[in-house]
Every structure is written in C-alpha cells, then in structure tokens.
C-alpha cells in the first residue's frame, strides 16, 4: 500500500462521489507541486465545454495581470481542472486560481495550510492530509481552532447542502489531533503584547511619561493579567481566613519567632562552617554552569566542561576549556558572566571530561564566538524562608522555651508557616502581574536613554523625534545605522540590498547571484552593529544572498522578471514577497525627508526603480 493516496486517484475518487470542488491541504509547497506533476499524463481530462470555460475565465484574469500568461501550470489547469496555490506563487497567480475556484471552474486545488487563514475561497470538500504544521522551524500539532479553520472551508453557503472534511492519511498524521479538532471547542486566545522601541517613542511623543502606565493598563494583556491576579486574590482571601486561627499569640509575629528559634535550636553553634557556604548569588548560578555553557572569566572566556566539589574547598569548582585548548580549574566565584549560549557537551568520567571529538569541536566553537554575547538573565531571588539578617543567634535570647503557648506554636508551626509562605508567594505574583507591563516599558525606556533617543526625563531627543518614524522590525538597528551614517552616499541599489536583508526572515536555503563588493562591505558593517545590539534587539538574518538579489533588481533596470527569477532558486512568490517587504522598509526611510533628505531621496529613487514589471502590475 502506498504511504498516501496518489493525487490522480484522489481527484478521481472525489469526482466519482461528487465531492468536488475540493481544497486539498498538503504539508509543503513541494508536495503541492509534485501533485501537479502527477497530472502531466493523466487521463482524466475535462469535457471540452469546461476546458473552454476555464480558458475564457483565465483570459480575463490574464488581461489584468499579463505576468501569468505564460505560467507553466496553465495547460494542466485547463485540461484537468486542478491547480496548486501556495506561497511560492505570485499573488497574481493565486488571484487567478481563487477567481476560477469562486466561479466553480476547478475540481481541486492543492494548497498549503497558509491558505486556511483568511483567504476567501470555499469548496464543497476539504481534504486534510496532516495533523501538524511547520511553525518557524518546528512542526507543531494543529490546534482545535486551526483544524476548524481548515474544515471551515468546506460547504459553501448557498451552493452546498452539506460540506465534507475528508481525512486521508500521510506519514505525518496523528488521527486523534484531527478528531479532537473536529469535535472540540476552539482554544481560548491569549494576548501576545510586546513593547517595542517604536512603541515607546511614539507613546512618549504623544503622552507624558506619567500617563503611560494608564495607557498600558488598557491593553488586553493587562486585562488578562488582571484576571489572573484576581484569581490569586481570591486564593489570597481564602488563605487569609485559613490563617485566622493562627493569629497573634504571646508574640504578635509568632510564626517568624518560632521559625528563628527552631532554626537556631537545630543548628546549634556549628563548629566548622567551612563547606557549602556559597552566597545566594553564586548558588543561583550553579544550575546554569553545566557542561557546554559559555562563561566570561576575569580574563577571556571559557566553556564549562564539568562542575564539581572538592574537599576542603569552600566553593564549587569548574573545569574550564580555555582558548587554545587549555584546560583549567577555577572556583565558581571567578565566573563573571554567564552567557546565554551553550553547546552540546556530553560529560564523561575522565579527563578532559568529554570525548575527544567534542573537545575539538568545543575548542573551535570557542574561537568562533562573536565579540558580544547575550548575557543570561539569572534572577538572584532571595528565597522566602531565609532568615532575617540581624537575628540574635543565641538560644538564651528567645522567650520560647518557657512561653505558655510553646506547645501550640510547636504544633501549628508547619501548617501556619506553609500557609504564610503561600500567602507571600501569591502577594508577590500579584504585584508582578499588575506591574509587569510597566516594568517592561521601563526597561525599553532605559535602553533608549542609553542610546540617546530619550532624555533622562524620558523626553524625545532630536534623534528620538525622527527615530519614532521607523516602525518596522529591527528599528533600533536601522536607526543606529542611520546615526552611524552607514548609508551616507549609498546608492539606491545598495540601500535596497540592505533593506532586503533586514526584511527577509526566511532561512530557506537557495542559490543566488553574486554580491557586489560595495554591498558586501556595507553588509559586514551592518552585521557588526547588529551583533553589538544583540542584547537589546534580536539580530536579523542579514542574508547576503537575498540582499544581492534585491540589489541586482534595482541596479539593472533592464533586467526582466523572468531574468531575475533565473538568477536564483528562490520561488517566484518568495522573490515577490521579498521585494514587497523591501518596498515597505524603503518607504519608512522615505518618511525621514525632513531630517535626512539625501537618505530619503535615495530611498525614493530605489522605490521608483523597484516598482516595475510584476511589482507594478500587482495589487
């Protein structure tokens, strides 16, 4: 038995049961293209009337968008009445297919699930072949909402009595995900509020600093945080009543009193206080200092090979791999910085505590590290049950041994202290929930102050005034580049190349044209700056290859669309999207006319050059 049904058999079966028109959702663009190839020599041709109808409908679309006149899929579409529709195609092609589908000319469209969201063309039947989709780099199971969005394409109002969702298995399917999706209630959605630099600048431009907290409080994020906080508050109320029987006794705060007394009683004058006495700041770091972790030491960096304790040593020790393959031992206290970077490193029982290959690989990786690395934020939390500092540590100072409520205290302490700890935890969480957006805002403010976009009183500086007009991803990098005059004298094609590399966030590999020396050196500068900004803003991919593609399109006005597509293995639809995004980014630079006229001019020129051929024809 084949792992999944052959596309020709699928369409035959659907036609036979009158389940057409259908949208067939496949896992990848490639699967869609291969499905189309499968129809190359297929026998199931449409009757001439329908072929003609498709021809006429296509002609109408082609009149509007000539770029698809020569599309290689047209013969199959017309002969068989099936088509492919995915992000690798030009928007004009997708519009044509959607139009054909809306007019009822096609029997099946092979599509990727990106189609399920939003685009408006229903069918009688949807065919589902997968239960997971690729999100960024990983496959994740479809949510109930997503399954229903996909199945929702089935059954056209006014054109069908019923709609059908047909599942046909492929090697990537988990049936239970789909049956749960079809029969379940869609998930609740959560706010994904983030605070970006342009948001901070624009808010502070329009509102005084002291009003911002009130504005943030209007977000759905805060609404949901408050919901959670209220839940905790209800728990807190409950805890309050539970704690009532443990109210003041001889001492008002008997719980703390007993805790301290009990502690001192157990840990009577410890004679040797040598071992295990790491300070809390060091102790919280220990779990992160595992083999493979990159850390900063007093001199240079190293990769942790193992963590251990040795007799007579106060502190935990680390075996470190240092530059040039040196292996050294040092106490954890000598670690200055714990970086947010680890490498695979399987610990072994003998020197050098990992396999020889790992050792070589790590040595190389250590040499290749960029100059700036993000630092791991480790919160030095002070645990709730640590004792107050100035505790009198001698038993004689406690009234407890002779106190009248001693037995009661002893009996109730475990429960009371647990309740109180919970109470403290909830109170802290509530505070954090209520204030977290404001804190995040303040963090951004601090960064913008450091870089000089905001004054110490959170007013926009001269640079802040224009920087707030850059409202796209990587805004900090772009404004910093402008301030560093990286674009001074850059001609439109270079500018387009850089903007393309900033705008493109897809890591699909491919073959691309060669990059010019000018763009290459400019890109190196951008990369360096991006790396240094990494602690404050995620660096973009900055692919030289896509930059080169945009550069060529702008630099050579005689280059045709087909010519451009031949320069690369990137899909037509991706090239289109790349250039469309580049246009968006350039348009933002163009808004800086007032403060950076020559940059704005160059951007305007790039925009004129970029908008030609397919990019002009398209909506």
């Amino acid at each position: 038995m084949p792992p999944s049904i052959h596309p020709v058999d699928l369409v035959t079966a659907l036609r036979h049961k009158q389940l057409t028109p259908a949208i067939v959702f496949l896992t990848s663009r490639r699967a869609c293209d291969e499905a189309m190839e499968a129809f190359d020599h297929a026998e199931l041709v449409l009757p001439p009337v329908r072929q003609d109808a498709i021809g006429t409908a296509l002609e109408r679309v082609i009149a509007q968008y000539p770029s698809i006149a020569e599309h290689p899929l047209i013969p199959i579409v017309q002969r068989i009445g099936v088509a492919a529709h995915h992000a690798g195609h030009l928007p004009s092609w997708k519009i044509a297919i959607e139009e054909l589908m809306r007019q009822g000319h096609l029997d099946a469209v092979f599509a990727t699930t990106t189609l399920a969201a939003g685009v408006d063309f229903p069918a009688r039947t949807v065919v589902i072949t997968q239960s997971s989709i690729r999100k960024s780099r990983d496959f994740t199971d479809l949510t109930i909402g997503e399954v229903q969005q996909i199945a929702g394409r089935a059954g056209r109002r006014g054109k069908d009595h019923v709609g059908f969702a047909v599942i046909t298995p492929s090697p990537y399917i988990d049936l239970s995900v789909l049956t749960k999706g079809l029969t379940g209630q869609p998930e609740a959605i959560d706010s994904q509020f983030t605070i970006s630099y342009p948001m901070v600048l624009n808010l502070l431009k329009a509102h005084p600093h002291e009003h911002i907290q009130g504005i943030l409080a209007k977000s759905f994020a805060q609404f949901q945080l408050n919901q959670r906080a209220e839940l905790l508050e209800r728990k807190l109320d409950l805890l309050h009543t539970q704690l009532e029987p443990f109210g003041p006794r001889v001492c008002t705060d008997w719980i703390t009193q007993w805790q301290t007394f009990d502690h001192v009683r157990r840990h009577r004058p410890a004679r040797h206080q040598t071992h295990r006495s790491e300070s809390p700041e060091i102790a919280v770091r220990l779990p992160f200092l595992t083999p493979g972790r990159v850390v900063g030491l007093h001199k240079g960096r190293g990769i942790v090979l193992r963590q251990y304790r040795s007799k007579g040593q106060k502190n935990s020790m680390l075996t470190m791999l240092r530059p040039d393959g040196a292996v050294t031992e040092c106490p954890v206290t000598s670690v200055r910085e714990v970086y947010d970077r680890t490498y695979d490193c399987a610990e072994m029982a003998t020197y050098p505590w990992c396999s020889a290959e790992t050792f070589d690989r790590l040595s190389e990786q250590l040499e290749d590290l960029p100059p700036r690395l993000p630092i791991l934020p480790i919160l030095a939390s002070s645990p709730v049950d640590t004792l107050p500092d100035a505790v009198v540590q001698s038993l004689g100072d406690f009234p407890c041994p002779t106190c009248s409520s001693r037995t009661a205290c002893q009996k109730d302490f475990p429960t009371a202290s647990r309740l109180r700890q919970e109470q403290q935890r909830h109170t802290k969480s509530i505070q954090a929930l209520r204030a977290s957006l404001w804190h995040r805002f303040q963090e951004r403010v601090n960064v913008l102050q450091t870089f000089g976009y905001l004054t110490s009183t959170a007013q926009l500086t001269e640079d802040g005034e224009w920087a707030r007009l850059i409202r796209i991803d990587h805004s900090l990098l772009i404004t910093e580049l402008i301030r560093a005059e990286a674009f001074t004298g850059a001609d439109p094609s270079l500018l387009a190349g850089i903007m393309a590399s900033l705008a493109h966030d897809d890591d699909r590999p491919g073959a691309f044209p060669r990059i010019s020396a000018g763009l290459s050196s400019l890109l190196r500068q951008v990369r360096k700056l991006a790396e240094s900004l990494a602690p404050h803003e995620d660096p973009p991919l900055l692919r030289a290859d896509v930059a080169a593609l945009a550069e060529r399109w702008v630099a050579e006005p005689t280059l045709t669309w087909i010519g451009l597509c031949r320069l690369t293995t990137m899909a037509e639809g991706d090239i289109y999207r790349l250039l469309a995004r580049t246009i968006e980014f350039l348009s933002q630079l163009q808004t800086l006319k007032g403060t950076h006229p020559s940059l704005a001019d160059s951007a305007a020129e790039a925009l004129t050059l970029i908008r030609r051929g397919v990019l002009e024809e398209l909506p």
Binding site: E98, G118, G152, V166, T179, P186, Q192, A206, K218
Partner: protein, 351 residues
Amino acid sequence: MTTDELERLLAQQPVALLHRLARGRVHRQFRAGKRRLIELLLQHSSHNRAGLESDLQALLEARQSQSASSAQRSQYPLPITRKKATPQTPVPALSEPAISLTGWLEGIGVPEPQPFVPDPWQTDALSALSEIDVVISVPTGSGKTYVAIEAARRAMEDNRTVIYTSPLKALSNTKYTEFSRLFGPDKVGILTGDRQEHSQAPLLIMTTEILRNLLYDAASGEIDVRLDTLGLVILDESQYIADRERGVVWEETIIFCPSQAKLLLLSASIGNPQDIADWLTSIRPTACRLVRHSKRTVPLRAGYLHPNGRLTPLFRTLGIPYGHPTHLHPEAKRLFLEYEEETLPSGRSRR
C-alpha cells in the same frame, strides 16, 4: 534509574505521553510506534538522561493531579451553570449502528436559490452597532462580511468615514475589489505597506499596521482630518490578536481607536470571545456587545479516505459528534489501524 527501569516505565505510558516527551528531543517522531519511540527517546537523550527522567516525572505528576482533580469533580458534582454552551448534536448511543456510506453521502448537491434574508445574528449585530461596539465570533463562512458591508454602508450614508482592516495583503486586495464593485470605485481606497490608491475615499481598506501608524500620528498631533469624521473601524480576522509577532498591533489599534468611532471586530470561533468583549467594555466609552454562535450554517460531515481509494464515514454519526472525539466509525478505525501497522517506521514495510 537504570536504563532498564526507565525503559520499563516508558513502556507503561500511553503513546500520547511519549509523544509529548519526544517533542523537541526527537526530530520527525510524528508516526513512530511506541517501541520505536522509546528507542528514539533513549537514544536522543543519552547525553541528558536526567532531563528526560525529570520531564517524565513532571508529566506523570501532572497527569496524576489531573486525574485526581477530575475524580474529585465527579465525586462532588458542582452545580453546572453553562451546560448548554455547546450545541451538542444528539449522539446516538454506541450500541446504535454506525452510519452507512450511502447515508453519509446522501443530500450532496446545490440548494435552490433563495432570496437573501439576513440571519438573526446578523441583524442583531447591525442594530447593536448603531449604538455600541460589537465583537462577532462565529464559524468560518457564516457571513461576517455581510455585517461589515451593511455597517459600512450605513456609516457612509451618515457621512462618516469607515476603515476596514485585514491582517493579510491578499485579503485586503480581495476586499478592495469586492467593495469597489459594491460601492463604486471612487468610494473605496486602499493603503498597504507598498500600495496607496484613492487615499481620500470614505471607505479605506488597509492592513492593521497602517492603521496603527495612522493612530500614532494622530495622537502626536500630526492630525489626519479623516479621523475626525471616522465613524466605524472594522477589524476582520481579529483572532490575529493572538498572533505571536503581530498581535500587539491589534491591541494598540483598539486602545488608540478614536472614541467617537464604533469598533466592529470580526473573528472566527475562539474559545474566549467574552473576554475580548469584556475587555472592550472596560476600556471603551460604551459597552460592547458580543455576538457569538458556534453552529455552522452549512452542516459538516467528516470522512476517511484510505490510500487504496476506499471512502468511509469518519464518525459513527452523520454529523460531527461534538464533544466525542472517540466515536469513530468502526470501518474508519479498522482501516486507520491497518495503515498505522503498515507504515510504522520500524515495520520496514516501505521506504
């Protein structure tokens, strides 16, 4: 734990749990059978056995506390207040015979053309919209566009401008064509990141990001006259508010939306539309009406198509057995098990 112990413990767990363990550890594990999955898990976590063990422990504990709490729930049945939240189609007892293929295929076809009569929820939404903001959460294909169009028409008759936003450029373009046809090309304009046409028209279509930028500029004093006369803002596909990267833009747009303009949020079915409506009520000058239903207008049936071309109903019932994912059709179940057997990666029956 020794390897043997761990292996035995893993073998006692349901496959679903193993899959959860495998997530992020083992690449391409979707279809692996249990034995193979355990093999892969052990192999891929050889360098981090402790991590695997602690994750397993955590999952086991989570499951235990879950079953404990559900047992508790069934022991003390709480007064259930929202019992009829789901329109539960009557599910025949499992003893009743499953639907036949012929029965399942019955009724395919094209309905007689009917005169257009708006659904009650559509009228409801429209009349509410003359006073207050409205959130609509209904299944795909129910007819949200009709509400958008009618509301836009009414606002324009009132000499107010309308902004319609969608998350996707493709969708904006489709709507631009559709609305231009309906209202006349001079009445409709479009603004996206890379396109601007008829930007002075009374009905403007734009991506949500563009609207957000417009609102930024209006707030900082670079007043855009159109915002004074703005009567209605329609946010289509507003479930995007939960989008990882872009969701924040929807929140900003709603926060900064001028108070004299009404908001109309159109969304596919989501689990908590009431939260969205409550949120709007809490920050906007007027209350917000939630219009919600989860019944599909065109009924849906589910089928299973075997790679050998055999078609069977997926569930025992004709329609979807809401709330009962396990009520599979015996034939579909048998065929799928057969498929699993044959395509099991460790079975080496192919590839």
